[in-house]
């Protein structure tokens, strides 16, 4: 039984492939991916060794049930849209919006959303989902992987900092 239910954003998936830790992560966590991220965004990665573009073959992972795809409905997205200003809604990519819409639906209370994207971390706070966010540094530390080679954006310190900004800015974005 895998210990934790996690939802990953596109940048995290790409960088896990780039740093060759994908297989280890999916073997230890119950990895879930928003459908928009799976179909449109986490498609390629550039490997560290040869600096070449490689396919991210999520199809195989899905078939073998190593990862699961989560699909939000248009109604879930509409509920999210109605909570915030149009400008704020438009500032976040559909892949991240879908992840947040899923969490907002209440059906995924035990899931953690892992992202290093400043706007997405802030969005978790704006939608009162701070407790459902997790930094990549923390996620990896729980399976004894260090953040070496990853961007500073994935650190726990940066994650906390962005949550703080989200709290400060929240009132500007809510309808």
């Amino acid at each position: 039984m895998k210990s934790k239910l996690v939802i990953l954003d596109a940048n995290v998936i790409i960088d896990m492939h780039r740093n060759k830790i994908w297989d280890r992560v999916v073997s230890l966590y119950a990895v879930h991916i928003p459908s928009i991220v799976a179909s449109d965004e986490a498609v390629y990665f550039i490997s560290r060794g040869d600096n070449q573009k490689h396919d991210i073959n999520l199809g195989n992972d899905i078939t073998s049930k190593r990862v699961r795809i989560l699909e939000a409905t248009a109604d879930d997205i509409k509920l999210l849209k109605d909570k915030v200003t149009d400008d704020y809604f438009n500032s976040i990519d559909p892949g991240e919006l879908e992840a947040i819409a899923l969490l907002c639906s209440g059906a995924y209370e035990n899931f953690k959303f892992c992202t290093g994207d400043k706007a997405a971390i802030k969005a978790l706070t704006v939608f009162d989902l701070t407790h459902q966010g997790i930094s990549l540094e923390k996620l990896l530390s729980e399976i004894s992987i260090k953040l070496d080679g990853f961007s500073k954006n994935y650190s726990e310190t940066e994650f906390k900092k962005q949550q703080g900004y989200g709290l400060q800015e929240k009132d500007f974005y809510l309808q």
Binding site: I36, E41, T73, S91, P94, G95, A119
Partner: protein, 381 residues
């Protein structure tokens, strides 16, 4: 109306606007059958978020606009004036407006949108106006904008940074040329062809500036129905561009310097001078004819002279490509991304680059991604 019914109506509306059939839309999304589109448009089918995202992307519109109120969306669509419409102009126009909206969104998120000065406005009677009128207008605009002796060098930057003109650069591959829009929601916007060389882009910017300055939607409707008047208006815009980028006094001064006591100048000097003004050699030659520095017959003769064509082609090969992306838009959108005001994937889409290439594209422009949030306290004094 339910969410799916609203979305269905909006999708139909936008698909029709782009002149796409249900089959076309299904094909662009990658669906084998159009039955799904038909059932979505009738409001019968529950739509998944990824389907909505894909449809919005093909229709070149933000997802929220497919879930919004029909009348407000319709009312807010700005008018676009085309110099010459390319074949697939509906799609290009939608892309132009989408990118202009992205640009405006970034401005609003950074709270910079209301700081720019207003462009001058001139009422123009196309029927009675002549070249002399637009040359006077060009001289006045050049002074008001503070463009200096070599206007092409600073025109784009001044229009963007001081007057808030948005430059959207697209691949208008089948020969379509620039377009202009001005609206309360988006402000002044100019669409440029990325396939144009820099000096042609400068001319296009000056040409489109004429339309912005003389903007009159009633006139555009008349021009749409009267091709002769449309052609005249375009000729006036070309004269304005020549007058703006090649000021009479400066052209005469520079030619006098080249003559320096002699009575002739050679092709290399002409081409070199055109570089100084950052316009094409041909534009300079025609301006010289217009200023009666040379005769029109001489200008036409030079235009077809194989030696001039050879030298000009060689000189052009060493010139850089034109604008591919507005500097100001890159700067503002990067600022919005770096401060967490837009997400990374959104930023990549705004720049039109795949997510995995974003890092290298930014690196090429000296912009870094691996940023810790460090803030500097600024004192009020």
């Amino acid at each position: 109306m339910t969410v799916k019914e609203t979305i269905g109506k909006r999708i139909k509306e936008e698909r029709t606007r782009l002149n796409l059939s249900q089959e076309d839309l299904a094909q662009k999304i990658g669906w084998k059958e159009h039955v799904k589109i038909s059932s979505i448009e009738r409001g019968e089918r529950d739509i998944k978020a990824w389907e909505l995202s894909k449809i919005a992307s093909v229709l070149k519109i933000d997802m929220n606009k497919l879930m919004g109120d029909l009348s407000s969306c319709e009312a807010s669509l700005p008018f676009v004036f085309w110099r010459r419409k390319p074949k697939r102009h509906e799609e290009i126009q939608a892309e132009f407006l989408k990118k202009s909206e992205d640009y405006s969104l970034v401005e609003r998120l950074l709270k910079v949108e209301k700081k720019e000065r207003k462009l001058p406005h001139e009422d123009l009677n196309v029927n009675s106006a002549n070249d002399a009128d637009v040359y006077r207008m060009a001289a006045s605009v050049r002074d008001q904008l503070g463009l200096g002796k070599f206007p092409a060098k600073s025109l784009a930057q001044i229009l963007e940074d001081i007057y808030g003109v948005k430059f959207i650069i697209e691949d208008l591959d089948d020969g379509g040329s620039a377009a202009t829009s001005i609206s309360s929601s988006l402000g002044p916007c100019i669409l440029l062809n990325c396939n144009e060389v820099p000096w042609r882009q400068h001319f296009s910017i000056a040409h489109e500036l004429f339309h912005l300055i003389t903007w009159n939607e009633c006139l555009f409707q008349i021009l749409h129905e009267n091709s002769l008047l449309h052609e005249k208006n375009e000729r006036l815009a070309e004269s304005f561009a020549a007058g703006l980028l090649l000021p009479e006094e400066n052209v005469r001064d520079e030619i006098a310097k080249l003559l320096a006591g002699t009575t002739s100048i050679n092709y290399v000097e002409i081409i070199s001078l055109s570089r100084q003004f950052e316009v094409s050699a041909l534009a300079l030659i025609y301006r010289m004819a217009n200023l009666q520095i040379i005769s029109w017959s001489k200008a036409k003769e030079i235009n077809v002279d194989p030696e001039f064509i050879r030298l000009n082609t060689l000189a052009n090969q060493s010139r850089k490509r034109g604008l591919l992306l507005s500097d100001r838009f890159l700067r503002l959108s990067y600022q919005a991304y770096a401060t967490g005001k837009i997400s990374r994937a959104k930023f990549a889409k705004m720049l039109g680059v795949p997510l995995i290439d974003l890092g290298s594209v930014l690196e090429e422009r000296g912009l870094v991604e691996d940023i810790e949030s460090c803030e500097i306290e600024i004192s009020n004094s």
